[in-house]
Amino acid sequence: MRDTKNAIRYHDPTERGTMKKNRTILYFMMAGFLVFALADGLLIHMQVRSYKEKIQILSAFTQEQGEENLDLAVRLLKGKENFDKKDGQKVLESYGYLKSGSNRYNLELRKEIGIILCLSFVMFMLYLTAVISSSKRLVEKKRQELKNLEKILGQFRKRMYELDAREEYQGNDIRMNRIYEQLELLGEMLVLDGERLAAEKETTKSLVTDISHQLKTPVAGLKTCLEILMQEDLSEEEQAEFREQCRRQLQGLEAMTSALVNISRMETGMIQIKKEPADILETLIAAINRVYLKAEEKHISIEFQEEEDFGSLEILHDVKWVCEALINILENAIKYSQSYTVVSIRMIKCIGFLRIEIQDQGIGIPKGEYHKIFKRFYRGTSKEVAQTQGSGVGLYLTREILGEHGGSVTVSSRCHGGEQGSTFVVQLPYGSRSLTKL
């Protein structure tokens, strides 16, 4: 049932198409016929007129006598003589010279009319064949183009997005070229989408592997601790120590799970970054407030410098997640710094981005690790890093969040000069809305 319906739908437009095409040919034929008929009529009319003129001249001569002939000829040539020579005509008629086919001029006239008709008929036929064959060629070309397109679409369904047919197509038809261009773009889009999908699957897979790997170590540690605790031949002191050990392991596990929840939400796209115009200064202050206590504990002061007076600066960003990103950087700065040091934050308006520099006086990062610290679950190799608790997720998340905003985070050696510590540079685009204001 469905098939027949489809078939009907498929056939209908093509039939209408042929009808329309035939009508166009008919129009061409009629127009050609009219042109030829008009031309023939004109030619024949001219021939008949010249025949009549000849007869009239002859009639004039029949009417005149003797030496007046010369005089008459002169008058005729000068156009002064009117062709009203009924008498002469009558004489010729009475001799039977004016009957059709009975004189030389009449025969010639007939022959010429015949030739005109024959020639124009031949020309008309030639014209007709030209019209038909060119329309056929046009139809054939169109059919070929459609076949090409069909082939491409067929390939698309087989997930082959290379446009070989494009190379075959040599025509200069702009509309056809447009269609091919659009198809090419569509193909590219489909390829890209497919690849994105595959990449997403791949990241999820590796994420699961990474998470299970990351959880194994603390869980194994906890298990060992508990097993030791369960042996009853421990002294009070030892028991207390292992209880403390367990507590620490659990704490680590807790921090890890909350980090993992964040990261898996981010990776699986459960977190949608919702960019809204908001005051970036407030976001930064919120981030500072969240780490303030930790800084206080270590007597680390957080200094904030503006290069110029900002007032308020509205930037398109997701307040919650940008805050999270900034917290991660600030927490690191505090975590890896000695007591009684300074973390300074600078805000600079650049051309397309707001630049936030966060500088600490901590342990610093070796140049070779600049690139690695933003990788998921990467932790520094130095002794200080190994002794500090951390999951290796914070900076990774920060980079992801800022990347989603079209911004970036890097460690800078240049801004830092020769001092101890490190400087993180955050770049956030103003977003098109506020860009025009600048």
Partner: protein, 224 residues
């Protein structure tokens, strides 16, 4: 993901005998589609030579380069020129903009060379992404270095090449502008699904990449 750019035992030597300089020594690399790769090296390490070989701007002494599974040096010169124009976009340190025509024309110019009509919507989108919308009627000389480089990036993106090769794109820019331009290059190439190979001597700049390769005395090695 599919490998879009691959080299096999790629070598480029200059001179002969004792004076021979081995600019690139048997480089084997494979770059995946959509990747942003930075090749870091000091000046004289052979990094520019490598990039020229990747882009088919120079012929190797030995070895092969495949772009999209096509051996580019097996092509005739004219064929290679067309292939390069369609598949590869270049961004240079010196911007290389045409100074007598305005920004819009600079961006649309390479499209005209290929007989393509400029897809105005697409080009405008690129221009917006790069934040040079209000500069399109300016002449290049009236723009700052950072703006000029953004125009050059827009030009490279506009012809929808599969690969963008950037040779020290921030070489002439101050550090803040460098950070901005590189971030834009990354954002825009990701948006349009293009693969970028960027050459730089600056490790700060290289951090933005998904992957860093180090070139030293013509040898290319992966950095962790």
């Amino acid at each position: 993901m599919e490998t879009i750019l691959k080299t096999e035992n790629l070598c480029k030597y200059y001179g002969k005998g004792e004076n021979q300089v081995r600019a690139v020594r048997s480089a084997n690399l494979a770059i995946k589609k959509g990747e942003f790769t930075a090749i870091v090296g000091k000046s004289g390490s052979g990094k520019s030579t490598l990039l020229h070989l990747l882009g088919g701007l120079d012929y190797p002494t030995n070895g092969k380069v495949w772009v999209k599974e096509k051996d580019i040096f097996s092509m005739k010169e004219e064929e290679l020129a067309i292939f390069r124009r369609r598949k590869i976009g270049f961004v240079f340190q010196a911007f290389n903009l045409v100074s007598s025509i305005n920004v819009w024309e600079n961006i649309a110019l390479p499209l005209g060379l290929d007989g393509k009509e400029a897809d105005e919507v697409f080009v405008r989108d690129i221009i917006n992404t790069l934040g040079i919308t209000d500069k399109i009627y300016n002449l290049p000389n009236t723009l700052s270095g950072g703006q000029q480089q953004r125009v050059a990036i827009a030009r490279a993106l506009a012809s929808r090449p599969d690969i963008i090769l950037a040779d020290e794109p921030t070489g002439n820019l101050d550090s803040r502008t460098s950070d901005e331009v590189v971030t834009l290059l990354k954002t825009s190439s990701q948006k349009y699904g293009q693969t970028v190979v960027m050459i730089t001597h600056d490790e700060d700049i290289a951090q933005i990449a998904n992957r860093i390769l180090v070139i030293e005395d013509g040898k290319v090695v992966e950095q962790g």
